[in-house]
């Protein structure tokens, strides 16, 4: 069968609605940052999750409580439980790492960017991460990113870091500092706004997109970004700003 069995080693509460799962896999996987898996919980469901980390047989997910499956995970899953993954799926971040990178993350968008930051750091790149949260209580993974480079956080309602959205923070930062590339992962509006700024500024940019994933194999069409016909599960989830460009012109984002 195509699933790899995993056992939950440790669950950590990051915020009241976000947990981190450390999972031991029976078989080793070698994902690229930005790739994802389908995580299957028998009788409950199967959802896409980005790698927040992967080293040999240990992987980490950051999971925001959203609905049925993530709700079950938050409430019922415990260390020692078995879960099943298929993947790594999709295409990760594509550029060969070099120079200085700016990472822009909102919410659980931190997950793939954390894994990316690790790889960039290991490849000798300079990394700065802008992490956006709603309130002080929502802040997480600050230290994890600090270990990998510079960090600035933004909080919309609170006292820590920059007061405002991470998009505003990004606009500030990008005016004064020089980067070779930008990576963004958050809500679609954030992704598109950052992409637009970068394209105008002539800066290479990649973003991680979401759509409803069903087959995860590029055949069912469920995850298409329209009208481009780009499949999040196979052509993405990471897209180059120039691929998404036609859509940036469009008024409304469909899919």
């Amino acid at each position: 069968m195509s699933y790899i069995t995993g056992v939950i080693e440790r669950i950590r509460n990051l915020t009241k609605s976000i947990k981190e799962y450390e999972i031991f896999l029976e078989d080793c996987v070698k994902p690229e940052p930005g790739q994802f898996v389908m995580l299957w919980i028998p009788r409950i469901g199967e959802i896409p999750l980005s790698f927040a980390d992967a080293e040999d047989n240990i992987i980490r997910f950051i999971v925001a409580r959203v609905g049925r499956v993530t709700g079950y995970m938050h409430e019922r899953l415990m260390a020692g439980d078995k879960v099943f993954i298929r993947g790594p799926l999709g295409r990760g971040f594509r550029w060969a790492p070099s120079g200085r990178a700016l990472l822009v993350a909102g919410g659980y968008g931190l997950a793939p960017l954390h894994f990316l930051a690790k790889k960039l750091r290991a490849a000798g790149c300079g990394v700065k991460a802008l992490l956006g949260f709603k309130s002080d209580d929502d802040v997480f993974y600050r230290e994890e990113f600090e270990r990998l480079g510079e960090v600035e956080i933004s909080v919309e309602h609170g006292s820590s870091g920059y007061r405002g959205t991470v998009l505003d923070l990004f606009r500030n930062v990008i005016q004064g500092e020089i980067y070779d590339m930008v990576y963004v992962c958050g809500k679609e509006e954030l992704n598109l706004a950052v992409m637009r700024e970068c394209l105008i500024a002539g800066l290479p940019v990649e973003a991680s997109f979401e759509r409803r994933i069903r087959c995860g194999a590029g055949i069912c069409g469920s995850c298409s970004i329209e009208p481009l016909g780009l499949r999040v599960c196979k052509d993405g989830p990471i897209f180059d700003g120039r691929m998404i460009m036609p859509m940036l012109g469009a008024e409304r984002i469909e899919g």
Binding site: M1, Y3, R214
Partner: protein, 305 residues
Amino acid sequence: MSPDLEVELARLRLRNPAILASGILGSSYGLMRRVEEAGAGAITTKTITREPREGYLNPVFVDLEFGYLNAMGLPNPGITAFKMELRRAAENIRIPVIVSIGGRDESEFIEVAEQALDAGCNAIELNLSCPHVGGYGLEIGSDIRLACNIIRSIKSISSRPVFAKISVYQARPDIVSRYIGSGADGVTAINTIRAAAISVESMTPILSNIFGGLSGPCIRPIAVAAVYEIRRELPDVPIIGVGGVDGWRAALELILAGANAVGVGSAIARKDLEIFREIIEGLRGFLASRGFKSIKELVGYAQRL
């Protein structure tokens, strides 16, 4: 001169015999456009119903080594929303677009067909064979008289080609003959086969729906037999052979058995859209190396004595 891959299929002219099978990427204009660019000879859309359908919960897809199991649950936006995609396709896509239609009764089939025809589709395929959605597909196709009535009604509102997509359980020349007698212009054989997979690790079924449809290389010999048998008894019926086409050899196997064109389905999971070029170039190379001028010469070639 390079060998000719053009085929005629119930009055549709296809630049080559590799058709996108129903349920595979044919759910939006953007995807259909990409499939055209990838080289396909025609496109079959996802099966469309009157109302939008959510489909089943995940997991809906299992990759077995030798094939695939799926129970999507016929998720689709419903014909009203899909009409917009079809209109754009009719304007911009130059290869034939065959709309696959699903319904729980004759009236649903007719209503969806009317809208699809109105939006400018080139042909219609009737899903009489999906094996895992209650009330649809195979449950309709198992009632041959009902299926014949549906074919007749749809032929009465349009002269555009209508294909009956059949399951392996109905892939018999006598049944096909009745469909043709009712006005069907051709058949698409075969749909997925009812199947299930149980994970030994979790000791549970994998699909949320438990039962799904088996596709991929593992069903090809079953499709080949179905096509061969229909072609043998009905020399002139247009046949779209579907099942396990994962490259030019597999496509050719179905053509040699008697298919005029072939559907390409789940193999896209492994080979992605490049599979269309692979099939086209492979067929062309084969024809050239054996001295054939046109792929049409090979339709049913394996039946010669």
